[in-house]
Amino acid sequence: MIELDGITKVYRTGSQSLEALRGISLGIGKGEFVSIMGPSGSGKSTLMNIVGCLDTPTSGSYVLDGDKVAGLTFDELAAVRGRKIGFVFQNFNLLPYATAWENIELPLLFDGKNGRRRRERVSELLNAVGLYDWRDHRPTELSGGQQQRIALARALANDPPILLADEPTGNLDSRSGEEIMAILIDLWRGGRTIVMVTHNDHIAARSERVIRLFDGQVVD
């Protein structure tokens, strides 16, 4: 599903250059649940951004779901992101002025789905995360756990095969975190590929495989 080969990422600021990733090669199979761990500055976020097609590698090849992704333009990557990847963020990143419904509808709009299909899909997702009755509430009127469930529903809107979660439980109390983990595991059992960044060994232990990064390289 995800094949990275010799991925490097170099940031240049003036005469200085920082090697965030130094030749990462790894493969994640379809339906795997993988955790990425590592200290701050180890390159976890950079790796997630490249896997998520938000960023492009300086060198190396990246094949996503059978398609070569390296070298695509930003707008081509946008289409890939919209269809194949769902993002879940630590701080939820919901639009503050939009309702729960509108937040979930967003990826469907960008994918150009028509009104009837959008309505059906949003209702379905709201029911799936158990927040249909909260559809007209804004994020500020929802608890952290509820917000993250809305964010999850948004990530799943276009039914992407891959879910990227960046510290999905980092801002939640343990009970809400547990709920989110339960949903993620459910999704994984349903055949979705899940890549999760976390600091928490306990959370990471729930995944099938842990990839540890240190100083821009995979250590085991």
Partner: protein, 416 residues
């Protein structure tokens, strides 16, 4: 999709009512200025050209003068003299002349009862009426029969008519012109006249047949003559032809620049029109700058909005929005603000113009303020120019912040 755009747009507008009001007010005021200044410029131009047409439309005035070059044994300084018969024979020899009239001009004592004025008397022919817009409000202008019979009839200006007769009916009355009785056959319609030559404006003149004038006062040579070419664009060529003919007939050098004084109102009007076009454009430019300030306001507010919503943009990019989509979102929002403000400005300007129309007109009708400035209206020229200016500024004001928004780095935006 469009419904969602409008829903979001109005939500954005209402979220910051004070900011929205201030942003809009710049655009409203700018549009208002453009519309009013353009309408004002346009109406002043039209009023001025109308006044200029008061003297006549599409005519050329020719004043015989003195030679300035020696010719065939004559020294320079010889008087050029033309008889009215020679003037009336010109159309037979020069093509392209629609109307022509000789003109004698003199200052005469005009009397009716105990009222006496020294006014300008013009000896002309019936073609004079159309060329010089001396249209009859009552009675009629001179006709060929008056000419042939050298009749003692006169057509008088409206001011002269009220000076002599007050509110009484002048047509059919007899007045004395230098003690010779003349019957009044018509009174001129009131007109605006900003230009003139030889004597008083038409409103104070008496017009009599030139045949009568010549026999009564013994005048042999005309003061001037006027003609109108069939094709207005050929006025210069027709004048050249006439000059060539008269040079041969009267004995002056065809190359003599000043033997005939020429006032080509067509040429004059061209310059006049150009001047007023420049005037209107100048006003339009001032208005445009005002609107530009409004546009800058929109652009800078949108920059702030983009800045505030960086994270929103990041999220949207992450869930599959293209840069185009983001560009369009902010661009259309700015443009919508511009158009909303523009619409309000238009409405305001239309209301002011309507109010101006309803105002009691100062001065004596056409001759007062409105005669000079005209009545500014929302004509198609004004509307189309304003919409064009509004769109150009709106597109520029929208594009600049929208491009900033679209170039947001999603990674940076999400980290905020």
């Amino acid at each position: 999709m469009i419904a969602i755009f409008f829903r979001n747009f109005f939500r954005d507008l209402v979220r910051q009512p004070l900011r929205t009001a201030l942003t809009l007010s710049g655009v409203v005021w700018g549009t208002f200025s453009v519309v009013l200044l353009l309408a004002f410029g346009d109406s002043v131009s039209k009023a001025q050209i109308k006044r200029f047409h008061g003297m006549g439309q599409g005519i050329v005035l020719v004043f015989p003068a003195r030679t300035t070059l020696p010719w065939q044994g004559f020294l320079r300084g010889k008087a050029v003299r033309i008889t009215p018969e020679e003037v009336e024979s010109i159309p037979g020899k020069v093509p392209g002349i629609e109307l022509i009239s000789p003109e004698f001009v003199g200052s005469r004592l005009i009397r009716f009862g105990r009222r006496e004025y020294r006014n300008t008397v013009r000896g002309v022919n019936p073609q004079f009426e159309l060329m010089r817009n001396t249209i009859a409000a009552r009675g009629r202008f001179l006709d060929p029969e008056d000419m042939a019979g050298r009749k003692r009839v006169c057509f008088i200006g409206n001011v002269l008519a009220s000076d002599l007769f007050g509110t009484d009916e002048p047509v059919g009355r007899t007045i004395l012109v230098d003690s010779v009785p003349f019957t009044v056959i018509g009174v001129m319609m009131t007109k605006l006249q900003s230009s003139n030559y030889n004597g008083q404006r038409d409103e104070r003149c008496a017009f009599i047949p030139w045949t009568t004038y010549a026999s009564l006062y013994g005048s042999k040579y005309v003061s001037n003559f006027i003609f109108r070419p069939i094709d207005a664009s050929r006025s210069k060529a027709a004048m050249e032809d006439i000059k060539g003919l008269l040079a041969k007939l009267l004995g002056f050098s065809p190359a003599d620049p000043d033997a005939l004084g020429v006032w080509d109102t067509l040429e004059f009007e061209k310059q006049f029109t150009t001047f007023f076009l420049a005037f209107t454009i100048f006003l339009g430019v001032i208005g445009t700058f005002t609107l530009l300030v409004g546009g800058v306001g929109v652009a800078s507010i949108m920059r702030v909005v983009v800045d505030e919503r960086t994270r929103e943009i990041g999220v949207k990019l992450a869930v599959g929005a293209r840069r185009r989509t983001i560009l369009w979102q902010f661009f259309s929002e700015s443009l919508a603000i511009m158009l909303l403000g523009g619409l309000a400005g238009f409405g305001l300007a239309a209301a002011v113009l309507q109010a101006l129309r309803a105002l009691p007109q100062s001065g004596s009708g056409d001759l007062g303020f409105t005669g000079f400035v005209g009545l500014p209206v929302l004509n198609p020229l004004v509307v189309v120019s304003t919409i064009f200016i509004l769109l150009v500024i709106g597109v520029a004001a929208g594009l600049i912040p929208a491009r900033t928004a679209a170039s947001t780095d999603p990674i940076e935006a999400l980290r905020k």
